[in-house]
């Protein structure tokens, strides 16, 4: 079967599925039009209809993506819920009426279930309701009430509007262009009114505009954006909510995350008008990554309105009683220019306000000349101006420098030179020495970001003054790299600003790429550049743009390969190639595409081995090989190739044993070795060999204890000890040794508790402590469930387990009260409480 044939079959099949069973034979006759073969194929597929309903259903109930579909709530706030009206991006909308019988008016209740909004939403709502209450306009559905349910979900009560979405209404009524514009002007009137009250909508789209039976458009959700997105505070750093917007109608500044203004609403209205008139959207949005979508919105110029109309399908034009050609002609000229002005990418070129937009449309309807001029010229002029604006200070600065230097005496020039070197030295020291010194301090991430950012500013200024100074440019590039790492490089403490981090990695990569092209034999430049490419790939990977990540990793790989070709056998080049191959593999691992990652990791490991073969005494090379074996082993492990997994880990273990034996005070080598044993313990457990597993975990524990003793302040070593102890406990549990398991797990929990109570403890170690208590509780429950446990003992064990669940809950609650528990863990509190309650003697 080819795509074309399937398209034909699909069309008929879809048509038949939509008709009632008794009418199906007739529908089949009509749609197949005597094509017996087509009919046979469709009928063969229809056999599976009932089975498909049963077997191939969605795994999650409809409407439930972030949460399972909740049953219809009986009441929300003061309102009795009557039925569901619909659900969308943010949550569910119910029809309700006042439960206290104050008045019987029906209202729409929007329950926010998307994870958006929190307990703060209610506070913000209270604060904003004064403003929102002022929104009294016939074209705006009134916001009546709002609050938070017992489960903590914010809700809003709005005037209930019975009507059709804007576009469906216009199409249904077969409205012509002028009638559509008149209706649109009513929408503009409502938006302009809200703007006068200083409220912007932020999510204008046809679906948010309902036209009632009497033909009045009403805007929904006005002010919600205000309440939901207003200052999310510190949370923004770790947990970024989705801004309230619909990409197809969002303005360029909105997708770039810039402040939302009146002009952004003008833009969204522009998209709506475009769609309303032509039946098409101004541009097609790519469905791939956010970056691609944002790029399309910011850069892709809309097709001129008349052209869009001319290309519209005949059935679409028919909804206006026209042919596509006629519609195209109608929309050419003034309307096209008005739409283009509203849709200008540069907000300053757009209509300044909705009133201006509406006035021009009014002029069109009256047949008067409109103000919108061919937008491209204005746009270009504005672009020129903008370029000039940026250039102006730079030009002035350059002029000042030239004048300054020309007028300066030799002595002053020397002084300036010395000052230049001093500032550079200071910036360098701040960025590289001071930063590294405070990097280990807990909670210093924000301070580091500021420090690095400032130092980078200085370096940039100096680089600009100095012109072609390769050393300085390299410092600037490495500065960008530092900034990027603090902003959001996975694996380091960071602020979680992944997309700005990616931009800065990109800048660093560009500078280094340029420098490298200038002096290709400079080893350290080549190394820096290769590293940056790998970091950039990884950064794209963590923002979900795997395509781009792979593209960059391939680039890195290609240049590493070129170097190896030009210098075969060079150990440095082989090492770089091994790293580049690994980076490409990791882009697949990030996407859980292990089968693609494995051959690349195999290659990376073989290259690392060649490096060791050529430099048998190089400690660094040996460590890299051990790491490569382990990464490969882990991939084998998660793909179920347990024998291969164990073999790789054994090889890594041999290397690390040698490293450790060569220098008994080398604690990092000891820790590395402990990880080998720990993972070997995991594989043995997977293979069902619990005795081997236990022996490996015990060996890991001994090494970790040694490292922890050597440096009692080393938090990582202490954490590793706690983790190993916990693993021993769980392995003992698998062996059926419950008392031993509980003792080890309690030891582990006590260690985590100590770590959690450090003054500088982070949330992670506190959560580990809570999870250790959960492990104890689960083991106690398993013990109580064993056959032959006397009833009294069983009760005692369960009571003890309930206690541990409660302790875990209290720990999470404590974090929440301190405001440091990420939102995704909030449910743990209720879940753990329920687990504890379920163990009550009365419950059995």
């Amino acid at each position: 079967m080819d795509s074309k044939r399937w398209g034909e079959i699909k069309a008929v099949l879809a048509g038949v599925l939509e008709t009632d069973p008794q009418e199906r034979p007739a529908t089949l006759d009509r749609l197949c039009n005597h094509d017996a073969e087509l009919r046979r194929e469709v009928e063969a597929l229809l056999v599976y209809e009932h089975k498909a309903d049963r077997v191939l259903n969605t795994v999650v109930a409809p409407g439930a993506s972030l949460r399972a579909e909740p049953p219809l709530p009986q009441t929300i706030g003061q309102y009795r819920v009557l039925r569901e009206l619909g659900h969308g991006g943010m949550g569910v909308v119910y029809l309700g009426e006042r439960a206290d019988g104050q008045y019987r008016k029906q209202a729409a209740i929007k329950l926010i279930t998307s994870g958006r909004g929190d307990s703060g939403s209610e506070r913000r709502f209270r604060r904003e309701r004064q403003i929102l209450a002022q929104l009294e306009h016939n074209g705006i559905a009134r916001l009546l009430d709002g609050g938070t349910t017992a489960e903590g979900q914010p809700y809003f009560v709005m005037e209930y509007v019975e009507g059709l979405p804007l576009v469906s209404y216009c199409d249904g009524e077969r409205l012509g262009t002028a009638a559509r514009i008149r209706l649109f002007l009513e929408v503009c009137d409502a938006v302009a009114y809200a703007h006068r009250q200083l409220i912007v909508h932020r999510d204008l789209k046809p679906g948010n505009i309902l036209v009632s039976k009497d033909g009045t458009p009403k805007l929904l959700d006005f002010g919600l954006g205000h309440v939901l997105d207003a200052e999310s505070g510190e949370e923004e750093i770790t947990l970024t909510a989705f801004p309230l917007m619909t990409p197809a109608y969002a303005s360029p500044e909105q997708v770039r995350g810039e402040p939302y203004t009146v002009a952004s609403d003008v833009y969204s209205l522009g998209v709506i008008l475009y769609e309303l008139l032509s039946g098409r959207r101004p541009y097609k949005l790519p469905t791939g990554s956010y970056l691609e979508m944002a790029r399309a919105v910011s850069e892709e110029e809309p097709l001129p309105l008349s052209q869009a109309a001319a290309q519209t399908p005949a059935e679409e034009a028919e909804k206006r009683g026209l042919t596509p050609i006629q519609l195209g002609r109608q929309l050419a000229g003034d309307l096209e220019r008005i739409a283009a002005k509203a849709l200008a990418k540069d907000a300053r070129v757009r209509y300044h306000d909705v009133g201006g937009f509406a006035a021009d449309l009014g002029r069109y309807l009256d047949g008067r000349p409109v103000l919108a001029r061919p937008a491209t010229l204005r746009y270009r002029a504005a672009k020129l101006l903008r370029r000039h604006k940026v250039a102006a200070p730079a030009v002035a600065l350059a002029a000042m420098l030239i004048v300054g230097f020309a007028g300066a005496t030799w002595w002053e020039a020397r002084r300036a030179e010395r000052r230049f070197q001093e500032v550079r030295g200071l910036a360098h020291s701040v960025m590289f020495e001071l930063h590294d010194a405070i990097a280990k301090l807990p909670g210093s991430t924000a301070a580091r970001a500021l420090l690095v950012r400032r130092a980078l500013d200085y370096l940039q200024n100096l680089a600009r003054e100095a012109g072609n100074n390769a050393d300085l440019e390299r410092d600037v590039a490495l500065g960008y790299e530092r900034v990027a790492i603090v902003q959001g490089y996975p694996g380091e403490s960071n602020l979680g600003h992944v997309s700005t981090a990616t931009e800065n990695f990109q800048k660093a990569e560009e500078i280094l790429g340029r420098l490298r092209a200038r002096s290709p034999s400079n080893q350290s430049l080549v190394k820096d550049h290769q590293r940056l490419l790998n970091e950039l790939a990884s950064s794209y990977g963590s923002s979900g743009n795997f395509q781009k990540a792979r593209e960059i990793a391939r680039k890195s790989l290609a240049s590493a390969e070129a170097i190896v070709r030009s210098a075969p056998g060079d150990a440095f080049a082989l090492g770089d190639l091994s790293a580049a191959t690994a980076a490409l593999a990791d882009t697949y691992t990030d996407e859980a595409q292990y089968e693609q990652a494995i051959p690349l990791r195999e290659k990376s490991m073989q290259l690392a081995r060649r490096v060791v073969d050529s430099k048998p005494d190089d400690v660094e090379a040996a460590r890299n090989l051990a790491l490569a074996e382990k990464r490969l082993g882990a991939l084998y492990g998660v793909t179920g190739r347990l024998q291969d997994c164990r073999r790789e880990y054994e090889l890594a273990r041999e290397i690390d044993e040698k490293r450790s034996a060569a220098n008994p005070t080398n604690m990092p080598a000891k820790l590395d070795l402990s990880y080998d044993y720990s993972d070997l313990g995991w594989v043995a457990g997977r293979m069902g060999n619990f005795d081997d597993s236990l022996a490996s975990h015990r060996r890991a524990l001994a090494l970790r204890e040694e490292a922890a003793k050597a440096d009692p302040n080393d938090v990582r070593a202490a954490t590793a000890v706690a983790s190993s102890t916990g693993r021993i406990g769980k392995t003992l549990r698998s062996k059926g040794d419950f008392p031993g398991a509980i003792a080890a797990l309690q030891d582990s929990a006590a260690r985590y508790e100590k770590l959690a109570n450090r003054p500088s403890a982070d949330g992670q170690s506190v959560r580990e402590w809570a999870e250790a208590r959960v492990d104890i509780a689960e083991t106690l429950v398993a013990m109580s469930d064993r056959k032959g446990t006397p009833a009294a003992q069983r009760q005692a064990l369960r009571a003890q387990a309930a206690d541990d669940y409660r302790k875990a809950r209290d720990i999470y609650q404590g974090l929440k009260d301190r405001g440091v528990l990420p939102k995704v863990y909030f449910n743990h509190i209720g879940d753990l409480q329920a687990l504890a309650d379920g163990l009550k003697p009365a419950a059995r």
């Binding site: 077997v55 179920g640 379920g838």
Partner: protein, 178 residues
């Protein structure tokens, strides 16, 4: 994911993100008495997964993109898991795996996942958009409306694509070879 850091255990850093935390959450969701307890087991894993992925300090600015990526990842996770279990079984370790791996308990769809995955690939070759619809609906657990939002097509189109795709997939998986 920070599992590339040289001094960490490779498995520690790779598996918890995808499996351990997932299992922990799913187990908790299942054992706790929740009011909305009518969930299918796989839905639990989905919920856990979505909670997990949204916690990563990644600035997912756009919900549609997020849901799209999550669906693809969910498909891979389920498929990887099924394949790993199969591979381990070939090596003779099936018992240990299925005993230990609670994920296996929670994902018990009525179709052979690997077979479905393979057939879905064939559908995607024939009709890429339709393949994506199935991935989002089946593996991502998205509603018709959400799927429409992610793909930028109308809900009516999603409904048609989904309805016809299911029949085709079943026919391919069960029917006599054409």
């Amino acid at each position: 994911m920070n599992w590339r850091n040289g001094d960490k255990s490779a498995l520690d850093e790779m598996t918890p993100v995808l499996y351990d935390e997932l299992r922990r959450m799913a187990r908790r969701l299942l054992s706790a008495e929740r009011p909305d307890h009518t969930l299918q087991p796989t839905a639990l894993v989905h919920e856990a997964y979505l909670r997990l992925i949204s916690q990563r300090a990644v600035d997912w600015k756009n919900r549609a993109h997020f849901l799209g990526v999550a669906a693809t990842m969910m498909r891979r996770i389920l498929i990887n898991h099924a394949k790993a279990a199969q591979a381990a079984k070939r090596e003779g370790y099936a018992a240990a795996i299925s005993l230990e791996d609670a994920l296996g308990v929670f994902t018990n769809p009525q179709v052979d996942l690997l077979d479905l995955d393979h057939t879905l690939d064939k559908l995607s070759e024939l009709d890429p958009q339709q393949g994506k619809v199935v991935e989002l609906r089946y593996f991502g657990g998205l509603s018709i409306e959400e799927t429409a939002e992610v793909l930028g097509i109308s809900p009516a189109t999603v409904k048609r694509e989904w309805g016809t795709a299911r029949l085709w997939l079943l026919q391919q998986m069960e029917g006599p070879a054409a």
